[in-house]
Symmetry: C2
Subunit: 302 residues, 2 copies
């Protein structure tokens, strides 16, 4: 078997395993209550179980595994960050935001339930993420837990994802340049992808000064991820994506593809992935899954 | 000056002081950035600064002060819980939820800005609350910080406020009995009021077993608060309230007033406040502000 073959199966196994484990963890942590709150938890479960690539939990658990962290602990932190990602998708899909009908090939939460339940399910998942990180089962060490909370809070708030989301809304009215689009995407998707890697290192008790290369890796794959997202939005297949495509063009938003053209965008993404892999040079085979993940980001077709 | 006079001025001073301090803290912690995120932070500031009774921060700081906690630390935790309260109001006011035009006598966030910005401002305040609690400036002790996060997460999520909000939405379709309405209100408003007192005690390093009476106090005033809210909704003045009233009756929702009648509801609220004050019997003058606050809850007219 070639080295690429080994790395392919490492990635394929990792993707299958994380999808199963994330589903199981959500299922365990969100049991249906026998009271009038049931509809809320049903909507949370509908959004969280059985969909998505689970890229953030995979980044987190792959990083944590490099440092010998117990898989159950890493999985709980991964589910917390996935809960934040899922809440942001539920709210982004709302009629007043992107007004999307499909997500992961099934009706969005506000279509399957109703708008008020979708707002509330997002809010409840948001709180659930922090509750989960604060739980001693995630880490026996309160300092580790509070660092996880601080990292996720910053990555998801106005200094991170929510700030990027606001910039994205402004992008419909202003013709942003490449620098502003890069900043927008670093906040909107990069911050949470970066937090996934960072939280894996926090669970591994790696001090901030030991995380520099991992942060560089995360920044590079985050940007590459978004460039490929723009390429897939431009060229991709709606059925494979499980969601509506080419909305940016309709809304007149600038993207990496509109600013760079598809060819330069693709070579830029490839360059970023090579750079991300180079950031892992000081690590041995234990970083192979992170390397395979970086390559997967440019090679994926949805 | 009579004892009631002393307690009146203690409360009046406390209300003025907390309103000023909460405004100042939000102002400092949410500076306007010079980039396209500005509109998001403007909306957050619009919702957070200059309105509301600040009951939750007052409960938190009054409890913390009993145990000699530094006021700045208590204020930061108070602002975190107020950020959660404000985010819940922004989302509750949305067209898909209560569709309210006025809050604290001014246009709701989605009216003053737009719906998407309102959803996002609520989300960003939600993350901001946890970020603030995780910051070492709130407490130098990581165990204290993580306990604050755990308490606020549980009080605001599906086991607390968001769960109560879901029950409230179901109340339009089902004729809930008194027991279910009590449970609904304990989750919807009681959980966050309880967390305010609890977080003050956590900052004071009071162990869980030492918080029993304070929890009882918080549970009693939380329920009294909601009964009085129902009474004010039934009898109150829209201008004094700064928001639309009598919507429950229009929507056919059961309330304490519809189930008990106004007279029994009022005597029930008074009984709960007396019980709340009795829970503080083991404390001396240092609990006078909490006592005055309990009385204020039944005596307020908005």
């Amino acid at each position: 078997m070639t080295s690429t073959g080994v790395s392919d199966s490492l990635l394929a196994d990792g993707l299958v395993r994380i999808a199963r484990d994330v589903d199981e963890t959500f299922d365990q942590l969100l049991p249906l209550p026998q009271d009038p709150r049931a509809r809320l938890i049903e909507a949370m479960r509908y959004a969280c179980i059985g969909g998505g690539k689970r890229l953030r939990p995979l980044l987190l658990t792959a990083t944590a595994e490099m440092f010998g962290v117990d898989r159950d602990a890493a999985l709980r932190a991964g589910v917390a960050i996935e809960a934040i990602h899922v809440y942001s998708l539920i709210h982004d899909d709302l009629p007043c935001m992107d007004d999307d009908a499909l997500r992961h090939g099934k009706p969005t939460v506000h279509r399957a339930f109703d708008e008020a339940t979708a707002v509330l399910a997002g809010d409840a998942l948001h709180a659930f993420a922090f509750e989960l990180l604060a739980d001693p089962e995630t880490s026996g060490d309160p300092f580790t837990r509070i660092e996880l909370v601080a990292t996720l809070g910053q990555a998801s708030g106005f200094q991170g994802m929510a700030g990027g989301q606001m910039m994205d809304m402004m992008a419909e009215e202003s013709a942003f340049d490449l620098q502003t689009i890069t900043r927008l995407q670093q906040l909107k998707t990069g911050a949470l992808l970066g937090a996934s890697v960072e939280m894996g290192a926090i669970l591994g008790r790696i001090p901030p000064e030991g995380r520099t290369n991992l942060r560089g890796y995360a920044r590079d794959i985050g940007l590459a991820f978004q460039i490929v997202d723009d390429l897939l939005d431009h060229e991709g297949d709606e059925e494979a994506a499980g969601k509506a495509l080419r909305k940016d063009a309709v809304q007149g938003k600038q993207t990496f593809v509109s600013l760079l053209g598809p060819e330069r965008a693709r070579s830029q993404a490839q360059m970023l992935v090579d750079q991300a892999v180079a950031q892992l040079a000081s690590h041995g085979v234990e970083a192979d899954l992170l390397r395979a993940l970086a390559r997967y980001i440019v090679e994926r077709n949805h």
